[in-house]
């Protein structure tokens, strides 16, 4: 092995290690998606409260929404100018507490919570906080105090539900159905005159019945995240945490809730409480958006690896990103064509002509692209032969051929539009200058070396362009080069290896087959 080969191998190894190391860091630590970019659903819940103070010490306690099942909370902001603010998590959920020594006049505070869909099948099981038994005991004690005839309605519900079910989840579901469907029974339950919260509220009633049956159930409030809402009202549900599962029941329909629910408060905790000031209004809005995994990784990266994040192409404007998404593919396409050249021995017109044609194919798609390429080259060749008769010198002739190619493009676009085929934009990316040079060199080779050689090279160019196109249209490749620009270090490493390859090409086995057979 020569010293030059060793040198090349060292450089290749260094490039490969550097590229792979940066990629590994970005995927494992920063969470950049290695494969396909996934768009993930993001919900933003904004709660805005306006209070009017009279110069007294003011405390606002605002219940904060929790991440729905299958989502995770990535960002929570409390914006309360002039207030001291903190977020506390308790058995009833999280609350934002904002305090101010003296509040005068109207002030608006708001909280923003962002949830990303995490697509994990297993919903996070909320840890049992032990409040379940308290609730059951309280309900049963309260139930025991009621009159016997009143208890009957509750027992009736429980017995009927138990008959039709085999476990706690099933019992809860049945009980909800009975209470929602049998209004007489529901009213009977509601009429139990007891101290404590009013049981005419369906969720409270259902939770009470289930607690009496010894099931951990609690009333919750929250928002269903299904639409964008400017003024979202909170709804109530009953959350059942049984040994065999956790479900959310809609007490008004008696059905299991299958929508995306962001829980706000539990038990009978208030959604907002204001001390020392008057609550003017409280408005909640919910908004869905989609964001890329990369954004999410960037959020994380900003704090973990500011340098790497700052120099990621994703900080570019969307326009610039689109340009680079194409530009970054150029080296990959060129590598594919270099491989064809070095390993297979395909000959082409010009080195980078096939790469540019491949990029053009990206816009036109393959069948249309090939048709256009072949069509334009053939028409160009025919028309160029007329210029040959006129004995034009090289540069003016190229200008004339260029004009013709442009006109062919225009004619095709107009013809396409007349037949409802929109070609305009995809045509504009066809490298007109490259096509002109191809026509010129093809006709030159046709004259000098004959049609066989010209067609061989034209075919080689077309095959290279198709292979290049196929490579750069692999979604993973597009994703990798854009999210991990360091992939280009690997491309350089591969190019060096190809450049140092001194073995035979596939074509040479054909070309020199005669020597092989010779004695």
């Amino acid at each position: 092995m020569t010293s030059r080969s060793i040198q090349a191998l060292v450089i290749v190894a260094a490039l490969a290690i550097a590229g792979l190391a940066i990629m590994a860091y970005k995927t494992t630590v920063l969470g950049y998606p290695l494969l396909q970019e996934q768009r993930s659903e993001v919900w933003t819940v904004e709660i805005r409260a306006t209070v009017e103070g009279r110069g007294d010490p003011t405390q606002i306690t605002l219940a904060l929404p929790d991440a729905p099942d299958g989502f995770s909370l990535v960002d929570r902001e409390v914006i309360a100018p002039g207030f001291g603010e903190r977020v506390e998590s308790g058995p009833h959920g999280s609350v934002a507490i904002m305090e101010r020594r003296a509040l005068d006049g109207m002030e608006t505070v708001f909280t923003l919570s962002r949830f990303y869909r995490v697509d994990s099948d297993a919903p996070e099981t909320t840890e049992k906080d032990g409040s379940g038994t308290d609730r059951i005991e309280a309900a049963q004690a309260r139930f025991a105090k009621a009159g016997e005839d009143r208890q009957e309605a509750v027992n009736d519900v429980i017995d009927r539900a138990r008959e039709r079910s085999i476990d706690q989840v099933g019992l809860s579901r049945e009980a909800a159905g009975i209470l929602a469907g049998d209004s007489g029974l529901a009213v009977a339950v509601a009429e139990i005159d007891l101290e404590g919260p009013d049981l005419s509220e369906p969720a409270r009633r259902l939770a009470f019945v289930l607690n009496v049956a010894g099931i951990d159930a609690r009333r919750i409030t929250g928002y269903d995240l299904a639409f964008d809402r400017r003024r979202a009202g909170s709804n109530t549900w009953v959350e059942v945490s049984a040994e065999d599962g956790r479900i959310l029941l809609d007490p008004s329909t008696g059905l299991v809730e299958d929508r995306v629910i962001s829980r706000l408060t539990r038990d009978d905790a208030p959604e907002i409480s204001v001390e020392g000031a008057r609550l003017d209004s409280r408005v909640t809005s919910t908004k869905r958006s989609y964001t890329s995994e990369i954004d999410r990784a960037l959020w994380r990266g900003e704090s973990d690896a500011p340098l790497l994040t700052r120099f990621s192409p994703t900080i570019l404007s969307v326009d610039a990103q689109l340009v680079f998404q194409v530009l970054m593919l150029l080296p990959v396409g060129a590598l594919a064509i270099a491989a064809l050249r070095q390993l297979i021995g395909i000959r082409t017109f010009g080195t980078f002509m096939p790469v540019l044609i491949a990029l053009a194919f990206r816009e036109t798609q393959l069948p249309l692209g090939i048709t256009l390429f072949v069509g334009v080259v053939i028409i160009g060749l025919v028309l160029r032969s007329f210029f040959n008769v006129l004995h034009l010198t090289l540069v003016p002739r190229l200008t004339a051929v260029l004009s013709i190619v442009t006109l062919i493009m225009l004619a095709l676009a107009v013809f396409g539009a007349a037949n409802d085929v929109r070609l305009g934009l995809s045509l504009s990316l066809f490298p007109i200058v490259i096509l002109t040079m191809t026509i010129e060199s093809m006709s030159l080779i046709w004259d000098e070396y004959g049609p066989k050689e010209a067609l061989t090279r034209a075919g080689g160019s077309l095959i290279s362009a198709i292979v290049g196109y196929l490579v750069i249209s692999i979604p993973v490749v597009q994703h990798l080069v854009f999210v991990f620009p360091e992939v280009l270090l690997l491309v350089i490493a591969a190019a060096i290896l190809l450049g140092r390859y001194n073995g035979f090409t596939l074509y040479e086995f054909l070309r020199f087959r005669m020597i092989r057979r010779a004695p």
Binding site: Q342, G345, H391, T393, L394, V395, L444, E448, Y449, G450, E453, G499, R500, Y501, N502, G503, F504, T505, E508, F509, R511, F512, M514, I515, R516, A518, P519
Partner: protein, 329 residues
């Protein structure tokens, strides 16, 4: 000391076993390693090549004119009408592109070997194309070289149809390594280039005798037009041709070189042009790989100063390679 050949590394496939040199290996191990980039323009431009040959006392075609601008055309036309026979070439052309051979000149134009008359307007167009760089390596402006038309040695009459046959010798470190004779055919229209349909015949360096011939990369036994046998033809003035190619090794700072020689009926071997990136087709013409000879030459500790001694060495190497090739038989 008798030379012998053993492959430097274990051959991985049948082509390597036959000692074939591939395109990638040629580019990397020979051109990149032995031909310094700054010396390439010297042989890429036929005008500087000619100056170089003149300086070294190596015979080359007589230069009739150089056309650098369109304005040079009128004086050229005068010279051409006087000379009658001439060759118009792009100074930086490759693979025989843009070469115009005229066998007669008159007030109307030039006559091609095929008898076709090209009027002066057509000649001017051709010259303008060359000047614009249509045939030049890497594009860019070019100059036109007008040279005397060499006359092939009468010995070639039996194997060559029209045009001028030439001998291509691969010279490595000043030592001829392999040679082929290129013969024009009716198909190639007087050109000796293989890709235009000329015949390539491998030449035994020891004797100057052809041992194998191909056309369009396929073996043939007889000239397609003349039906004369292509094996066993003795190239005239072979020793002098070999010596000429060996002498170039001293004058050109290129380790790996293709030398094209025309054996003129009066002047004997004349340097036609040099090529810093000689093609590999001569392996097909010889039905033999180039690598064994190159490996022996690469392994030599010292290269003799005397070109005649290098010619002797070339023959010894050929002997060793033939022995290696026939080892199985």
């Amino acid at each position: 000391m008798t030379l012998s050949y053993e492959p430097a590394s274990r051959p991985m496939n049948r082509l390597a076993r036959a000692g074939v040199l591939g395109m990638n290996a040629r580019n990397l191990d020979l051109i990149a390693a032995w031909n310094p980039r700054k010396s390439l323009p010297m042989v890429d431009d036929k005008i500087t090549t000619k100056d170089l040959a003149d300086g070294a006392g190596i015979p080359a075609p007589e230069r009739l004119a150089i056309i650098e601008h369109h304005g040079d055309f009128a004086p050229f036309r005068k010279i051409a009408e006087e000379a009658g026979e001439l060759v118009i070439k792009p100074a930086r052309g490759s693979q025989g592109g843009g070469i115009f051979v005229a066998t007669g000149a008159g007030p109307t134009g030039l006559q091609k070997p095929s008898g076709q008359l090209v009027d002066w307007d057509g000649v001017r167009f051709h010259v303008a194309n060359i000047l614009a760089g249509m045939y030049s390596l890497g594009g860019g402006r070019d100059r036109v070289l007008v040279e005397e038309l060499l006359k092939p040695h009468p010995a070639f009459e039996d194997v060559s149809l029209g045009g001028v046959p030439d001998v291509r010798v691969i010279v490595f470190r000043g030592i001829p390594a392999m040679a082929m004779l290129r013969l024009p055919t009716a198909r190639s229209d007087g050109a000796a280039n293989l890709h235009k349909g000329g015949v390539g015949a491998g030449v035994d360096l020891r004797t100057g005798e052809t041992n194998h011939a191909v056309m369009w990369d396929r073996p043939i036994e007889r000239h397609p037009d003349l039906q004369t046998p292509l094996r066993g033809f003795r190239v005239p003035m072979w020793e002098d041709s070999l010596l000429l190619s060996a002498r170039l090794g001293d004058s050109v700072p290129l380790g790996y070189l293709g030398v094209d020689i025309v054996v003129d009926e009066q002047r004997g071997p004349v340097l036609l042009e040099m090529n810093a990136r000689p093609g590999l087709a001569l392996q097909i013409a010889n039905a033999a790989g180039l690598r064994p000879s190159l490996e022996i030459i690469e392994g030599l500790d010292s290269i003799p100063e005397d070109p005649a001694r290098r010619v002797e060495l070339a023959k010894e190497i050929e002997e060793a390679v033939v022995r290696w090739r026939n080892r199985g038989n």
